[in-house]
């Protein structure tokens, strides 16, 4: 009796992942520029002995909660990639929904954080840079949530299988970079002030 061999793995270029990697690199450069300006202006301001953020303007807790939320989302995103790779559709749905919820929670917490900080955007260069950097990051998270939502729709349509897992891997690259950028925001803006 002839042995039936499993089908050969699909050998096709992972164009979506490559494209996402390029776009994500561009996003990193965008934030790299904003951070460079932030540090440059902050350094000049401190050198003149002037105050950067007003005392107690930025509480640590909301920023830390955001970091915790996004850290958990890294795990759920990895879970989604693993589940799709193994054709585990139920767990893939669950992981993608959880990741999206983490993103929505992060946006919600950031809005709360803005209200808690309470500085008007034209208070100082520090306030302006704070809102531009965190606002741009918020937009990035929003795009990630929308992308995850579209992914879920595709998943419900049965398109995210182990043979078509590029889209999940691509969104994971984007999501990890979003978290990576937030680490800098958390460390250098919210904690380092």
């Amino acid at each position: 009796m002839a042995t039936v061999l499993p089908p050969a793995p699909l050998n096709r270029p992972r164009t979506l992942m490559v494209g996402t990697a390029f776009i994500t690199s561009a996003a990193l450069m965008f934030f790299g520029c904003l951070f460079s300006i932030y540090f440059s202006i902050r350094s000049d301001t401190m050198a003149w002995g002037m105050e950067w953020f007003p005392e107690n303007a930025i509480e640590l807790v909301p920023g830390g909660m955001n970091m915790a939320t996004l850290s958990i989302s890294v795990a759920t995103m990895g879970w989604a990639v693993y589940a799709v790779k193994n054709d585990d559709r139920v767990h893939a749905y669950l992981a993608l929904i959880l990741t999206s919820l983490m993103g929505v929670a992060m946006i919600n917490q950031t809005v709360f954080y803005y209200m808690d900080i309470g500085l008007p955007i034209d208070h100082s260069e520090a306030a302006l840079l704070l809102y531009v950097i965190t606002g741009a990051h918020l937009v990035m998270v929003g795009i990630g949530v929308i992308w995850l939502g579209l992914l879920l729709l595709r998943a419900f349509g049965g398109q995210d299988t182990s043979r078509h897992r590029d889209l999940v891997s691509a969104v994971s690259i984007y999501w990890y970079s979003t978290v990576f950028i937030y680490i800098f925001i958390w460390l250098f803006i919210y904690i380092g002030k």
């Binding site: 270029p13 992972r14 164009t15 992942m17 490559v18 494209g19 390029f22 776009i23 690199s25 561009a26 996003a27 450069m29 965008f30 934030f31 790299g32 520029c33 904003l34 460079s36 300006i37 440059s40 202006i41 350094s43 000049d44 955007i121 034209d122 100082s124 260069e125 306030a127 302006l128 840079l129 809102y131 531009v132 606002g135 741009a136």
Partner: protein, 503 residues
């Protein structure tokens, strides 16, 4: 089944790389025309430095002066390069099409919308601000939105082309064996994606600070240009025209029937890409210490190293094989050679203008360097059209008319650059305003003569652009079919053309 889509629907919804390429290039020519007219008016104003001649205030001059540069980069040279890459790269790497055709189409329309907004913003007394802050704030904000949209469009189109090279090329071709043009696009596109978002970040910061309230710092109309100007000057301009090295290498290689040394050439292109990275050179955030300024100049002068490598890569295989020159390729070879000559002059002027004791960093020499480098890019675009034109439009093209346009443009750039380079030594500022004090020099006969020569150069540049547009229109209307591979070149894009014809 009958296809019921209208002409407009077909134009707007096309994802075919050849058609998109033509859209990019036609739009780039229009952008080049806008930029050249703005440059000509500024040159005319500079003839008499002591007073306003055709503009009423220094701020008016400033708007056209900045419009010339912004349009030259974002609406002319970059889309020209992207357009060429969109059509040629997929064919060269054996891909049947761009890997993200819909994104490419979307990117073009976003870019076009942005380009129109930029032009509108400049014409509505906006632009990128003015020194005396007499521009309309709303129009400046509008222009900034246009800049952002063009950046998004250019990044999207670049991503599609880059992904086609990296993940969409036919199996069996390593990255080190792709044609020189595709390699140059790979390096340039990667570096564009590293620098255009930086410009976007600057623009967003300015925009947010400008809207709705008194600016804190960044959104002041008098300082907008200072924050964005790094993208339109040395060394960043080398990066915008980087694919010209690939264009020239392809043409010269085929003309001499001699493949160049890929490692040397690819290294030179790669180094030029790195040396051309100018996002760090943001003088607005310069802390101003002598050490910083010294290192800044030294880093900028390093652009000369890849240029020397490049010359070696181009010349070394040619000397012994000069008898192998194919006379049929004379016109594209002449245009390609002239473009590399302009670029090398730009490199030399760029290296000279950062020498501290000469104090040329803010003088007219800057303008000479920019026009030489970006002019080299435009001329390379003409050489590329001469070389790949039949592939691009599917018709036979008039080589002689392209040569005439290219020569007029080349002499225009040369004359303009020589005059601006020399007048820089008299102390004439890059932006001259409408008084001798603002110009940084007196209106002596020597200065006036050089400025008249510079104006003649601008005029020739404009004539060259108009001739190129007329030639393009005539070629587009031509009914003579393309002749296949007119040069006997051995790169893959010509093969795919033949396959298409068979199909």
């Amino acid at each position: 089944m009958k296809n019921e889509s209208t002409v407009v629907e077909r134009i707007v919804t096309t994802t075919e790389s050849g058609t998109l390429s033509r859209y990019w290039m036609v739009s780039a020519l229009v952008g080049l025309l806008f930029s050249s007219v703005a440059g000509l008016l500024v040159s005319l104003e500079r003839i008499d430095l002591s007073s306003a001649s055709i503009f009423s205030t220094a701020d008016d001059v400033f708007q056209f002066w900045t419009a010339h540069r912004v349009a030259l980069v974002l609406i002319a040279v970059l889309p020209l390069m992207v357009g060429l890459a969109t059509a040629i790269v997929p064919r060269q790497v054996g891909a049947s099409r761009l890997v993200f055709p819909k994104m490419s189409a979307f990117s073009f329309w976003v870019w076009l919308f942005g380009a129109l907004i930029i032009i509108t913003g400049f014409l509505a007394n906006g632009g990128v601000g003015t020194p005396e802050a007499t521009s309309e704030t709303q129009s400046v904000a509008l222009t900034l939105v246009g800049v952002l949209l063009t950046i998004i469009g250019l990044c999207g189109a670049s991503t599609s082309v880059l992904t086609t090279i990296v993940a969409g090329r036919v199996s069996g071709i390593s990255l080190l064996n792709i044609p020189a043009f595709s390699w140059s696009v790979l390096v340039a596109g990667t570096m564009w994606l590293a620098t255009l978002p930086v410009l976007a970040a600057n623009t967003v910061l300015v925009y947010v600070d400008m809207r709705g309230r008194a600016p804190v710092n960044f959104g002041g109309e008098a300082v907008v240009w200072e924050q964005l100007s790094w993208a339109f000057t040395h060394p960043q301009v080398y990066l915008w025209v980087l694919p010209l090295l690939g264009i020239v290498a392809e043409i010269v290689s085929a003309a001499f029937k001699n493949k160049m040394s890929n490692p040397l050439l690819f290294t030179a292109i790669g180094l030029t890409g790195f040396a051309g990275f100018g996002a760090y050179a943001q003088t607005y955030f310069d802390i101003g210490t002598p050490v910083f300024e010294e290192s800044f100049s030294i880093i900028q002068a390093f652009i000369a190293i890849p240029a020397v490598l490049l010359v070696v890569a181009f010349i070394s295989p040619k000397i012994k094989d000069v008898k192998g020159f194919d006379k049929q390729t004379t016109i594209p070879t002449v245009l390609a050679t002239l473009s590399i000559v302009l670029l090398l002059h730009g490199v030399v002027v760029g290296a000279v203008h950062v020498i501290g004791p000469l104090e040329l960093a803010t003088k007219s020499t800057v303008s000479a360097q920019i026009v030489l480098t970006l002019g080299a890019g435009v001329l390379a675009g003409m050489a590329a059209f001469s070389w790949w034109g039949e592939l691009l439009i599917g018709k036979s093209i008039s080589q002689r008319k392209i040569l005439i346009s290219g020569l007029i443009f080349h002499f225009g750039v040369g004359i303009f650059a020589v005059a601006d380079f020399l007048v820089g030594f008299t102390g004439q500022n890059d932006f001259t305003g409408v008084s001798e004090f603002a110009a940084g020099t007196d209106n002596s006969s020597w200065v006036e003569t050089l400025n008249i020569i510079s104006f003649i150069g601008s005029l020739l540049i404009l004539l060259g652009v108009i001739a190129a547009i007329a030639t393009s229109v005539q070629n587009a209307l031509s009914k003579t079919p393309a002749s296949g591979n007119p040069w006997g070149a051995d790169t893959l894009e010509w093969e795919s053309k033949e396959k298409e014809e068979v199909a």
